[in-house]
């Protein structure tokens, strides 16, 4: 992989990968480190990678593996999600600050509550939810990436959805 190819991949998939890292780590500094380490690992392994494969899926699987290793290595570290204001979270949904009229239909509170609930999910469930809804991966792709059976992915997705729905309704009632 040349530097130009890497730059092109970063341009194309950087946002998707970074969003995934942010949710996985729940911390900007950790996300920066994981994002950077992922690209360097992808580069390191590029000689063994079939260039025709799904680059985005491959990057996500590398990030996931690095994050698991990192957690094992630094098990003593207990990261807590930084507290962000409601407006910060909602603004993040519209990075350019100009939501379209269609986007505006979705209330900011709903986005915020769902994201908050996703961050509460146990990591195995959160990973499946992020890969499916954020990265638009099929259940079969997720099963291959996370090395679990298709049925397990399906079950985790179901339980994650149920939890999110329950929490979202609880939280929206509170507000």
């Amino acid at each position: 992989m040349t530097k130009q190819e890497l730059a092109s991949y970063i341009e194309t998939y950087g946002g998707d990968l970074y969003s995934f890292c942010r949710y996985l780590t729940r911390d900007r500094t950790e996300a920066d480190e994981l994002y950077q380490d992922t690209w360097l690992k992808v580069l390191e392994l590029s000689g063994r990678v079939d260039s025709d494969r799904n680059i985005k899926g491959y990057c996500l699987s590398v990030a996931l593996k690095l994050w698991k290793n990192r957690k094992r290595k630094f098990a003593w570290r207990k990261r807590i999600a930084p507290v962000r204001t409601l407006s910060d979270e909602a603004d993040a949904a519209y990075p350019d600050g100009a939501a379209s009229s269609e986007d505006a239909v979705l209330r900011r509170e709903e986005i915020f509550l769902i994201r908050q609930a996703v961050n509460e999910l146990p990591e195995k469930l959160k990973t499946v939810i992020l890969l499916h809804y954020m990265e638009e991966m099929s259940l079969a792709q997720i099963a291959e990436m996370t090395h679990v059976s298709y049925g397990t992915v399906k079950s985790r997705l179901y339980h994650a959805r149920q939890y999110l729905k329950k929490r979202w309704e609880e939280m929206s009632d509170e507000t």
Binding site: G14, G15, Y18, R22, D32, L40, R77, D91, P95
Partner: protein, 399 residues
Amino acid sequence: MKHDKDEWENLLRRALAPSEKPSETINRRILQQASEEKRMRQHKTYRKLIPAAAAALMLAAGFTAYAAWNYRNAGEIAGRIGDEKLSGAFAKEDTARNADGVSAAESQTYGGYTATFLGLLSGDSLSDYAFTAGGKLHSDRTYCAVAIQRADGSALSQGEEDFFVSPLIGGLNPALYNAASLFGSYAEFAEDGILYRLLECDNISCFADHALYLCVSDTAFYDGSLYRWDEASGTITRNTDYQGLNALFTLHIDPALADPVKAQELIDAADTAARELSETPALPSSVEEAMAWAAALTPETIADSCVRMENTVQTCSVDADGWFALQPWLVNEAVSDTRGGGGVKAQLSTCFDGPGTVIEGYNCSEGMEDLVITTLTLSDDNTVTFAAWVPKDVSIYLR
């Protein structure tokens, strides 16, 4: 707020659509590190599997310079690393050469190592594997097999020592034109205390009208101090003053294979690759300057030029095992891209030698305006106080 199933699915997708973006600085840093990593690993990239359809016919341009009997031969080495096609090609050439009388393996011993040149083969699509770079398939390759062992007979294992193996071309500066710039890679393994390495690079047969060499040194990269290049005559020789391994074998390739046009293409490609590597995007000078400025701060001077962000200050106690835990903090919530940290549990002994203040770290994305410096203070009462600081006057967090 109730939604039906489709609405709920849609809501999840919309809420979780990727919305975070990495900073330009971090992307630049990745590309910068990538260039450094690439230099480090230029010779260690394992080869890609070639799609079956792309495996072309082996051309008759192959040429075996040597075969050896005291070591595994080149064909066996290729077979051992799983390249049956190359193994067969080496074997075929060995057989052809054997009919004419195979030369004995050539060994050279310097600096406590014996390097043995076991064979060379050049041609198009000789391998089960293909090397690609820049999206381009490099199928016309030269393969060199060498064995390296300790002269005292003690075992050498894979990865234990750095070695650099490369063809060198008379008339061309070896520091610029070697396996690295000729898109080289290698595979290696150790057996019976002997390290076997199979190097490949773009086909050097087109340089057959030049003197051709193979260097084997105990360095990770080409080191100009190990060999002498006479710019006037173009000859390359060993630096006999060097105390380590700097073997230099002469390669015998049929001059009829020389192809000046193709040789120039290789030189141009090597020049382009070298230029790309040298074009490392630098961090913005504003970031470099801010980091240098922060590095010069000390716990004693930080208050002179920085403002302590009182909202980030927190004090925690140290538990019986010497751990302390910091709660999440943000420099200034009112700033949209505010900097902060998660809750961190750390061990006292890794942060302090005794009571006092240490600068824990600093970082920025743009420069002085978003620079944040963090400090930890251990008090006599065995509590730890954390604080984030920002430069006076210029910080966005003070607006």
